[in-house]
C-alpha cells in the first residue's frame, strides 16, 4: 500500500509515494516522457555521479493508473529553506542554476525553480525532483525565473544586502517576497544598483503593468531562444556567487568560553558511551552550536541532525563541510507542520524521528531564558521516546548567574535544584549513568525511557 508524500502533489505529471521505506515517484505519460528525455542525456549520468542529482531507476509498476514508476534512495532528513543558513540557500541557488544550464545544453529544461526541490545529503545540496526535468520546447522562456527570484535571489538579498534573516519570511510565506515587496524592503539607494534595478525594480514594474497578459506566443514569435535563458542564468550565477554574509551570531565563539573548553572532552566521552550502548541510527543534537557532538555522532555511524537557533554558528560549521543534517530553528519555537492542509511540510519534530537525543548546554537556557518550567522541559525530552543524554546546570553555575542577573526569584520557576531535576527525570526515565563536570555545578545524565 502506497503512502503519498504530503508535500508532493503540485505537479500533475509526477508525485512521490512511500512503500514502506522505499521512495517511489509515480509518473503520468508526460512525466514518463520527461524521464526518458532526462535519462538518455550524458548530463543525467554525470550529475548523479557528482552527487548533484538524486539517483533514480525505473522500476516495475503494477498500478495501471500511472504510466511509470521511479525509485529514489531515501533522503535521511528532509529540511526546508526556512531551516537553512545563508550559505546553504546560496549553494542551493547555485546548484539550481548550474543544473538548468547543463540541462539546456542537452535540450532539457527545469520547469520550476524552488528550493523545496533541493535537499542536503551528507552536507551537500542535491536536486531531488527528477520530475522537474522535461524536453525544452524551442522559443519557450524559463518558466521558473520569477520563482527563482522569489525563493532564492530575494531571500539571499535580504541577508546579504539588508542583514535581515530570510528564514522567518520563508516560514511565514514559502513563496518568498514578491518583486514589489523586495523593492519596498530595499529602499531607494539600493534600488539603483544594476542587478537590483533589473531583477527587483523592473520586474516589479513589469509585473504590475502586464498582470495576466498572455505573452509566451509573442516571445516565441519574436525569436526567444535557449541562448537568452543561458545568458540570464550565467549572470544570475555570477550575481549569487558574489553574495556574502559575514555570519555573525550571538553564539559564534561560544566554544572559547572557559566551561566549554574545560568540559568538552568529558561530555564527548559520556556521549560516546551512550552511542556504544544504544547504537542509534539517528541522533538529534539539540542546541548543536558548532557541531562538536554531532561530529562524534557521525563518527559512530549515525545520521546526525543538528538543530540550533543561531544562524552564524551553523553557517560557519556548514562552510567547513560537515556531513551533518543542519536545521536552523529556535527550540522554543521549532518549525511547525504547515503548508496545504497543515500537512504539506511536517513539523521539525516529526521529521527528526531520533533514536537518541543530545541536550548538552541547553536546558538551562530553556528554563532561565525562555521561562519553560523544569517539569515541562523533562516532559519534552521524554516526548522523543528515545534515550537522551542531558546536561543539568545548577542555579549556582556561573552561566546561570549571568542568565538570571536581571531576574528576581519570583520571576523564576520552582524546582530548579538538582534534587528536583533528578526526581522529575525518574518520573519519566531510567537514569542509566550520571557524572559531575568540572567545578561541580554541572552534571551529565544518560537516560532511557520508562
Amino acid at each position: 500500500m502506497h503512502r503519498p508524500d504530503p508535500g508532493s502533489f503540485r505537479d500533475p505529471a509526477s508525485h512521490v509515494v512511500f512503500d514502506g521505506e522505499r521512495v517511489l515517484r509515480l509518473l503520468d505519460d508526460r512525466g514518463l516522457r520527461g524521464w526518458h528525455a532526462l535519462s538518455s542525456t550524458r548530463f543525467f549520468e554525470k550529475a548523479v555521479a557528482d552527487g548533484r542529482l538524486i539517483d533514480a531507476k525505473l522500476v516495475d509498476n503494477d498500478d495501471s493508473s500511472v504510466a511509470g514508476a521511479l525509485e529514489h534512495p531515501r533522503v535521511p532528513f528532509i529540511s526546508y529553506p526556512y531551516e537553512w543558513t545563508f550559505t546553504m540557500l546560496k549553494d542551493a541557488a547555485l546548484l539550481q542554476l548550474e543544473l538548468l544550464a547543463d540541462a539546456l545544453g542537452e535540450g532539457l529544461t527545469i520547469k520550476d525553480a524552488t528550493p523545496y526541490n533541493i535537499q542536503f545529503i551528507d552536507g551537500r545540496p542535491v536536486f531531488i525532483d527528477i520530475g522537474s526535468f522535461e524536453a525544452y520546447s524551442p522559443g519557450e522562456p524559463w518558466i521558473g525565473y520569477r520563482q527563482f527570484t522569489r525563493q532564492f535571489l530575494f531571500p539571499l538579498m535580504m541577508r546579504s544586502d539588508l542583514g535581515v534573516p530570510f528564514q522567518p519570511w520563508l516560514r511565514g510565506n514559502p513563496e518568498g517576497p514578491t518583486a514589489a515587496e523586495m523593492r519596498n524592503l530595499l529602499g531607494t539607494g539600493r534600488r539603483l544598483r544594476p542587478s537590483t534595478m533589473l531583477h527587483v525594480s523592473l520586474q516589479a514594474r513589469m509585473e504590475e503593468r502586464m498582470s495576466g497578459a498572455a505573452v509566451r506566443d509573442d516571445l516565441k514569435s519574436a525569436g526567444f531562444n535557449a541562448e537568452l535563458i543561458l545568458a540570464n542564468v550565467r549572470k544570475l550565477h555570477k550575481l549569487v556567487e558574489g553574495m556574502e554574509w559575514s555570519g555573525q551570531g550571538v553564539w559564534v565563539g561560544y566554544q572559547t568560553c572557559d566551561h566549554v573548553g574545560r568540559d568538552r572532552e568529558a561530555k564527548g566521552d559520556f556521549l560516546k558511551t551512550a552511542l556504544d550502548r544504544h547504537r542509534p541510527g539517528r541522533v538529534l543534537d539539540l542546541g548543536a552550536n558548532d557541531g562538536y557532538f554531532s561530529e562524534i555522532s557521525l563518527r559512530s555511524g549515525a545520521v546526525a541532525i543538528a538543530v540550533d537557533g543561531d544562524e552564524g554558528v551553523l553557517d560557519a560549521w556548514y562552510r567547513k563541510g560537515t556531513r551533518a543534517a543542519i536545521a536552523l530553528s529556535d527550540l522554543t519555537n521549532p518549525s511547525p507542520a504547515q503548508g496545504w492542509a497543515g500537512t504539506e511540510r511536517p513539523s521539525l519534530t516529526d521529521r527528526a524521528r531520533p533514536d537518541l537525543v543530545i541536550a548538552y548546554g541547553l536546558i538551562h537556557h530553556l528554563i532561565y531564558t525562555a521561562s519553560v518550567p523544569p517539569a515541562t522541559v523533562v516532559d519534552w525530552l521524554a516526548s522523543f521516546r528515545c534515550p537522551v543524554v542531558v546536561e543539568f546546570v545548577s542555579p549556582r553555575d556561573e552561566m546561570v548567574g549571568k542568565l538570571t542577573a536581571n531576574k528576581t526569584e519570583a520571576e523564576l520557576h520552582h524546582g530548579r535544584e538538582q534534587d528536583d531535576f533528578e526526581r522529575l527525570l525518574r518520573d519519566r526515565f531510567e537514569i542509566v549513568a550520571s557524572t559531575p563536570l568540572g567545578e561541580g555545578t554541572r552534571t551529565l545524565y544518560s537516560l532511557t525511557n520508562r
Binding site: 520569477r146 513589469m206 502586464m210 495576466g212 505573452v215
Partner: protein, 58 residues
Amino acid sequence: MLFGYLDAGSGSLILQAILGGAAGILVAFKAWKARLMGKRAMAETETEVDETTVPTES
C-alpha cells in the same frame, strides 16, 4: 508544454528576454510590439462590432 501549475508571471517572462542581453532586448521589443499590435487589432475589431450593433436613431 504544460506549465499550468506554476504561475510564471507575464512581466517576468518578458523581462527574461531583456536579461538575456542585447539580442534579448530586441526580442523583448518585438514581443512588446506584437502585443501592442494585437491589442490595437482587438480594439479595432471591437469598435467595428460596436458600430454594427449600436441602434441608429430614426
